[in-house]
């Protein structure tokens, strides 16, 4: 279609589907006992040291399936609402490349491990968007080709490093359910958090633990009432959220411009693959699908089918922790936390564990659960986050233990210290381990309280609410609210409600 004949565009709509590769952090590789570089212990190994006969594809070597990789994949599948196949199969994807030692990649073609799931994400347009999961299958990663010698010197030929070869890779494929780049990024971040929570990956993007490949096209409605769909573009190997967003946004406008220029629409052979140029923030054509490979998939005769029986499935299910989304909702509900605070605490599995043990300690120290949650969260997200930023150390790794965080929360709740005092205590306790109350006293951080005024307000309250006071004396503790309220009002809100309550009970002798 010539540009001058193109009707005017009324509206455009973006359609994106996503493929995600997650490197599973098993100790050993997908089909051999060689250590895996996705496991933190081995991540900085010298080139070609995580190799055995199976990884190198030596004559006579045979693959043996890593059951843990299957379990991890099934956990991710379950978390994404997928059906876990009772029987799935390994297939060979045949092609030649120097980073592919066997001349084929073991993957799953028509019987994947997980299929047919969905998760809801908060949509940029408001409300939630349901993202369908077509499938999630396991495969082995390839090696890497490089042109740099160890030490950084340039090498004329190509160097093969097989450390990554054979690392278990979970490939998740979504339906084309995304309407904007923002939602894709939200989903990708959600998925990363989820996978980290499940303990299946370290989630370090720079190390390629997760790689994204969006499939993008645009539906163009023209003013003459017709609809055009631009050819689908797959952008390969994006390993940051920034690149993911950038590539989709760039394609959203580039495809409309291309259509205006050449009028090409979706159809057989029209699909192409592009790469992302991070410096110029553009996508670049890699290949048209016409010269796509024939991978000659066929079932791998070296491996048996994966049979997952009820008992194995149950054991995997039992391993599933509370998922990040559910946990976030619970934090908001139970601890009265802000959504944004809950997101920070749940964003990292270790931080979340730390928070939860602080909260437990605070409960042990006598704080009611909701206040304990809210109290320690406030400390971690203020005093903790501040020092974490300053020192470049994660909040849970600052050196302060959960019992100490709980101790500060208790002092705050008792009104013994103020916010500045809490912050100061936190700072000291990151450096040395002491009892927070003793430390607060030694450091002169305990607030001087006006006990005489408190006594006066309590007496006045009892006098003014004689009937309620009588109820409390006879054991009806519910009546205490009115008495405490009076004191709070009299103090102008400065009194500590908890303390007032305790003193009131002491005075009235109705305490438990």
């Amino acid at each position: 279609m010539a540009a001058n004949a193109t009707p005017r565009i009324r509206s455009t709509r973006l359609i994106v589907g996503l493929e995600i590769h997650v490197e599973l952090a098993t100790r050993t590789k997908m089909f051999s006992r060689a250590p895996s570089p996705a496991c933190p212990e081995f991540q900085d190994s010298e080139p070609n040291t995580l190799v055995d006969p199976v990884v190198a594809g030596l004559p006579g070597a045979l693959p043996v399936m890593n059951r843990r990789a299957v379990e991890m994949s099934a956990m991710v599948g379950m978390a994404l609402g997928c059906t876990i196949a009772r029987t799935s199969r390994w297939d060979r994807k045949n092609y030649f490349y120097p980073d592919l030692p066997k001349g084929y990649q073991i993957s799953q073609y028509d019987l994947p491990l997980c299929g047919d799931g969905a998760i809801d994400i908060p949509a940029a347009a408001g409300g939630t968007a349901r993202i369908g999961i077509i499938r999630a299958h396991l495969e082995e990663d390839t090696g890497k080709l490089g042109h740099e010698l160890p030490g950084g010197q340039r090498y004329e030929g190509s160097l093969v490093d097989l450390n990554r070869a054979g690392t278990p890779l979970l490939e998740i494929v979504t339906e084309p359910d995304f309407a904007c780049a923002e939602d894709v990024v939200t989903f990708a971040q959600e998925l990363r958090t989820l996978c980290m929570f499940l303990g299946v990956t370290e989630g370090v993007m720079q190390r390629g633990h997760m790689r994204f490949e969006p499939n993008i096209n645009v539906v163009i409605d023209t003013e003459d009432g017709r609809e055009y769909r631009t050819p689908v573009v797959e952008v390969k190997n994006l390993n940051s959220f920034r690149a993911l967003r950038g590539a989709i946004e760039h394609e959203a406008s580039r495809q409309v411009e291309a259509w205006l220029a050449d009028g090409r629409v979706m159809g057989p052979g029209a699909k192409s693959t592009r790469g992302w140029d991070d410096e110029r923030q553009v996508t670049l054509l890699q290949r048209e699908k016409e010269d796509a490979h024939d991978y000659r998939y066929f079932p791998d005769p070296d491996l048996v089918e994966v049979e997952i029986d009820e008992a194995w499935l149950e054991a995997i299910r039992a391993e599933l922790p509370e998922l990040p989304m559910a946990r976030r909702e619970r934090f908001v509900r139970e601890f009265g936390m802000l959504e944004k605070d809950a997101r920070v605490l749940v964003g990292d599995r270790e931080l979340c564990r730390f928070f939860e043990s602080c909260q437990q300690q605070a409960v042990t120290a006598g704080m009611p659960a909701p206040e304990a949650g809210a109290g320690v969260a406030k400390i971690l997200l203020n005093a903790g986050a501040k020092r974490s930023n300053e020192r470049g150390v994660a909040i849970h790794e600052l050196g302060i233990g959960p019992a100490r965080v709980a101790g500060i929360a208790k002092l705050r709740a008792d009104g013994a210290i103020d916010a500045q005092g809490g912050d100061a205590l936190f700072g000291i306790l990151c450096e040395r381990d002491e009892d927070p109350a003793a430390l607060a006293a030694a450091e002169g951080l305990i607030k001087v309280r006006d006990d005489a005024a408190m006594d006066r307000w309590i007496a006045e309250s009892i006098e003014a609410n004689a009937a309620a006071a009588e109820d409390v004396r006879s054991g009806k503790q519910a009546a205490i609210g009115r008495l405490v309220g009076h004191v709070m009002k009299a103090s102008g809100g400065a009194a500590d409600a908890k303390e007032v309550r305790e003193r009131m009970l002491e005075r009235l002798g109705g305490g438990a």
Partner: protein, 492 residues
Amino acid sequence: MVPDPPRELREVVAAVRSGTASAEEETRGILDRIERFDPGLNAFHEVFAEEALAAAREIDRRVAAGDDPGPLAGAVIAVKDNIATTLGRTTCSSRMLESWRSPFNATCVERLLAAGAIVVGKTNLDEFAMGSSGEHCAWGPVRNPWDPERVPGGSSAGSAAAVAAGLCHAALGSDTGGSIRQPAAFTGCVGLKPSYGRVSRYGLVAFGSSLDQVGPLTRSVADAALLLEVIGGNDRLDSTSAATDVAGIAAAAESGTGRLDGVRVGLPSEYLSDSNHPAVNESVRAAAAAMERLGATLVEVHLPLTEIGISTYYVIAPAEASSNLARFDGIRYGRRAEPRAGEDLESIYARSRGEGFGAEVQRRIMIGTYVLSAGYYDAYYRRALQVRRLIGEEFARAFTACDVLLGPTAPTPAFKLGSQRDPLSMYLCDVYTVNAPIAGICGVSVPGGFVEEDGKPLPMGLQLQAPAFAEGGLLRAAACLETALGRCPLAC
């Protein structure tokens, strides 16, 4: 003094274990024969004389010290050169792997060594086990010890020739479509193809992974049973190896009183084809009669899919081979063509593989690549898998009526070198052997008498087949038949 020709494996082992014979002397005897006869046979790629003698001395030392030297103590074994050994090279008789040294032993080799066996050398084969004559070798053909103008069969050509000529006590071969049984038939050995999954494939350089099995070539059925017990059994390095217990097979093979009362022997009419050599059909009939005399019941069964097995096999095996041999790309190991200025990767692959692989291997890679290609997969590969299932079902039906199947191992005795120029007629040599691997069942070839050609006696083979993991019954029937028909002597 060591007897020459050498004794059978079990006699040697018994003598070495009891201290009445020296493993070193036995080994020396074998090495002398290799020196004498192998130049005319080309059965060995490599002979490990010093290493074998050192291993033998160690066995003798253990016997003298009162330690158990293992169930194969002093047995001198030759290993087909497509089975990985850390000793020497593992070439698969291919220029591609001319200088390949494996950093690991195949599981079957590890088990042999642990049992006190002495690995004496690596034997010649059709390149990557592709061939039925022993002629498709990178370094010259193997000759049949019964008539050097004739082939020993293949692909375990060197292993069969070495056993038949007394250049070892037994040998390991591999069978994908008949590569143990057919050369055993052509040379007068016993050749056992175990059920799929019985012997670990770890370390066997893959040809058709869903068909390949390692198995023994021996001079007697009892020797084959003993070797199977040593090399068989579950291996966690091979996902397709079966958990089925391998112990007791040797005992089962020797059980009874040499009679076959109650055993139902199926004799498929399809196995007695008019296109077989007449002497072959005669020897099968004679064997049937012998088994009947031993108390067996002859049962008529039908296996109409027998012939179609060849076309099924020559789709499935090349398909798997095309993928299995993709790793030989000259990048990490193996032959790499001298790079030319400005040459691209594709061209280096093509030239390395073109130089490294022989014609028959290239032919099968091309067939395999074709049948797996988009647009042809359904017509060839998928169809072949369907027929594979039908062949399995046909055997299963036959085995409701009989316990073992009797027939010829090959349609003819050994043919002359260079006489099978047409690949298709070569493929037809496997008509009676391809179906056992297709169905995963076990089969054994035992000597079935001689036919005279050009004034020379040529051995013929009888094949017995039994259901998967029924090697005990299979070998017992084979042992009875062997006793009834008599052993085949050494060729030289």
